[in-house]
Every structure is written in C-alpha cells, then in structure tokens.
Symmetry: C2
Subunit: 256 residues, 2 copies
C-alpha cells in the first residue's frame, strides 16, 4: 500500500478537493483506495457524502484509544473501491489529549500497521496547520503531495512546510518522499498565477506536476452534492484535470 499525505499549512489551497478527487479517480481506474480524513473540519468526509453528525466512531476514537482499530471506523462510499476513515469535530481535541503520550507523532502509523492488506493507496487529507495531526500523517506516509495556489502568501508558506518536512524526515520518518507540488485554483488569465507558477517551476523544477488544477466552479459545487467531481460531472474540466493528475501520480509512483 502506498500512503500519500496531502499537506499544506496554507488554508484553502485545495487539499480536501485534491484528496477527495484523486481518491475517487484512482478508485474509478480500479484501485482500492482508503481516504483518511485527518481534519477536524471533516470536509473530506462531507465531500464523499458522509453525514458527520451521525457517525458514532471516527478518527478521533482510533487515535485516542488504542483498543479501537482503524478497520472498525471505515465506511464504504458510493464510489466502488473508495472507502473512507471519517473525521468528526471531536478530532480537534486530539492534539491536547495526546500531548503527553510517548511517541505521539507515531500514533497513526501504529494504527495503519493493523490494517489488512486490501488497499493499493491510502490518501490522507490534512488540516491547515503543521501541528500534531499533520505530523502524524507525515510520519505514516511514504509520499507527500503539496497542493499550492499560485499566489504570493501560499508561495511564502512553502519555507515553513519544507522545514517541518525536513525535521520529520530526520527524526520520525526517513522514508518520506516529496511526490510533487500541484498547482491548484489556477486562473490562467492572470499574470500573478503565471508569474508565481514560473517562479515555482524555476525553483522546484521537476518536483512540480505537469498537471494544473484549474479554478472551475463545478469543483466547488460537487461537495454540496456529497460527490467527487467525476461522479458529479464526468465531462467537466475539473474531472479532466483530476484524471490527468491521477495518471501523473501513477507514473511517478511506478517509477520507483
């Protein structure tokens, strides 16, 4: 199983939209996918149609209570091959609850070890922060996918993200590899997006995906129907962009 953490502490850069849609497109190509919602906002869970107010047990219970296995909270979704380990708002308590736990950054990794080997990929949606939930995702993952909006504040935030990745790689997870940087919410009509993209490509070179996720309204509508984009509107530009990303991700992981 290949575990991909989708992280960026910058808010609103498309982490959830990417986690949900990459997972769904991979499942539609026949892979078995576990989408893990690591964000107390629980938006990935909403995006695949989970009623987060009706769930009895979620990622919170698994992280806090070693007695509850990850398998016990997994739900199917309407997409064949796509399962989800949902979050609820209670997950916001986890960082304080685990503060004195030995090996608190490795709690999620410990849960993953109990999973039966039925999944090809695990995709983890992270909250907009570099605190304990994100670090748990980075400690359990082999690959890191960074969605990045091509604007100034998001670009500035990359320094802090890479510092954290560096520390995690040195102290907690030497297997962590940067799968790629994904340009998101891209508006090709503005010089700002084009300039920031060329700056990012100049600096990070082939780490930047060829795929660009364009700013298209269907991608913002789909969550209101609780559906990934390829289910909501198979012919949309958003679906085309995310299948393009899916092929590029498969190409990059197979090269190893």
């Amino acid at each position: 199983m290949i575990t991909i953490a989708v992280c960026n502490q910058k808010g609103g850069c498309g982490k959830t939209t990417t986690s949900v849609n990459l997972s769904s497109c991979l499942a539609s190509k026949g892979y078995k996918i576990l989408l893990v919602d690591m964000d107390p906002q629980s938006h990935a869970s909403l995006g695949v149609g989970i009623d987060i107010y009706k769930i009895e047990r979620s990622m919170y219970n698994v992280l806090i209570n070693q007695e509850i296995k990850l398998e016990e909270i997994i739900c199917k979704t309407e997409v064949a091959g796509l399962d989800i380990a949902p979050a609820t708002l209670s997950l916001s308590g986890v960082e304080i609850d685990l503060v004195n736990t030995i090996g608190r950054e490795g709690v999620f990794k410990g849960c993953v070890n109990t999973l039966p080997p039925k999944y090809d990929f695990m995709i983890i949606d992270c909250p907009p922060s570099l605190s304990l939930l994100t670090v748990n995702a980075l400690t359990a993952a082999q690959e890191l996918l960074i969605p990045l909006q091509m604007q100034y504040y998001p670009m500035e935030g990359m320094k802090q993200l890479f510092k954290t990745v560096d520390i995690v790689t040195k102290r907690l997870n030497s297997n962590l590899n940067i799968l790629g940087i994904l340009p998101t919410l891209y508006d090709g009509r503005t010089n700002l997006c084009k300039d920031v993209l060329s700056g990012i490509k100049g600096y990070f070179k082939e780490k930047v995906f060829e795929t660009i996720i364009n700013d298209t309204i269907k991608l913002a509508e789909a969550p209101s129907a609780g559906k990934p984009i390829n289910i909501y509107d198979a012919k949309s530009k958003g679906t085309e962009d995310y299948f393009k990303l899916t092929d590029e991700v498969l190409g990059r992981v197979r090269q190893k």
Copy 2:
C-alpha cells in the same frame, strides 16, 4: 479601544486580506490602529511589509514571557496611524508551551491590559483553527468579524465556529459580540456564490454585511509588494470594497 478579532477556522477565506486592508483603510481615515498578527504563518506581518526573518521579538515572546510587554514588539508600518504587533514562525510553538499555564486562554487579554491608551482599534488576524491562539483572540475581543467565502465547505464550517464562540462567550468573555459576517472572494458570475449568499442572508439576516469583497486580482498581488490594497492601488475595486467595509464597520460600532 475597540478590539476586533477576524476569525474563521476555514482556510483561505480572506482573514489576513481583511485584517490588513480593514486596518489600513481605518488608519487612512485618521484612526490609530494596532494590527495584531496571531498566526504563525505571519502573513499579516508580510502584508504590511515586515521582514519576518529579521524580527528579534514577536507575539511569541509576549505570550510566553510575561516580562515582555506588547508595546516592546510593536512596529510602525508605512501607513500613517497603522502599527503592527508582528508574528514569526516561532508562534507555532505557543499552543504546546502554554498547555499547562493557568488561564492559558486569557494570556493575550492580560497583555492588552498593559497597552497605553493610544489606539482606537485593535484588529487581530487569526490562524485557520479554533485552537489556543484563536481562543486567545476571542477572549480579548469585543467584536468578532467572520470572513466567509460563499461556497459549500466554508458554509458548513460555520456550525463549528459558532459552537466555539458560544463556549468562549459563556466561560471566558461575556462581552464578545458578532460584528458581522463578511462575504469574501465573491464571484458574482457563478450561481454557487449567489445561492450560498442568499442562504447565508436568509439564516443570519442583518448580521451579514451589506459590503461584499469581490474576487479581484489586485487583492492577491498587493501582498507581494508588502502593501495594503489602498496603498498598492488606490483606484482598484479591492480598495473600493474595503473602504465600503470600513464605513459599515464604523457604522456598526458607533451604534452601540
């Protein structure tokens, strides 16, 4: 001094853009403003031209060390009447450092009490979370301004925000009032924005500002010059929108 906390745990909904530009427009109208950067990302500090890698002392030192007064870290900006209490990346350590401090949610309020009475408004830019830094801002504030992008995930996040505001009002700050909900990043050409806006107005009624901050590229460019929008481009739609908000905010606080 009226303290306005600019909060929303949803990432990327325009908190920093609103904090920086509302502060600058108020200062341009002659008010004395202290902008407080409560976010380890330090984007409000960048947005007014602070070099966050050269600052020796920041909000982190003030919150951790009762010996350092808020006044000691305040910097002028190029906008007359606008001062800033900057953040640096070290602020991300504060939530863990303060976890065992008695009255940890009131630490910032304690710092504010030592300020000389020279400011008309204090505007606090919050991180995308409802954890200790945001709660410190809510505990010290009289007014809460909520920037909200008119899309599905942001709208869903309002429940969690209001639960937190409710708890803070009951246990920590009975003076906290909701100044208003500000529609941001608005794209009037899409039905999604119009539908969500009418839903939000139907539910929150006069709490929603009349002012709408439109999605206009100059607002995303200005931070790269380290300038608020009315300094970067006085004739832009973004400047017009934020002066409109400024008048509406002044109207609402004077009504009390």
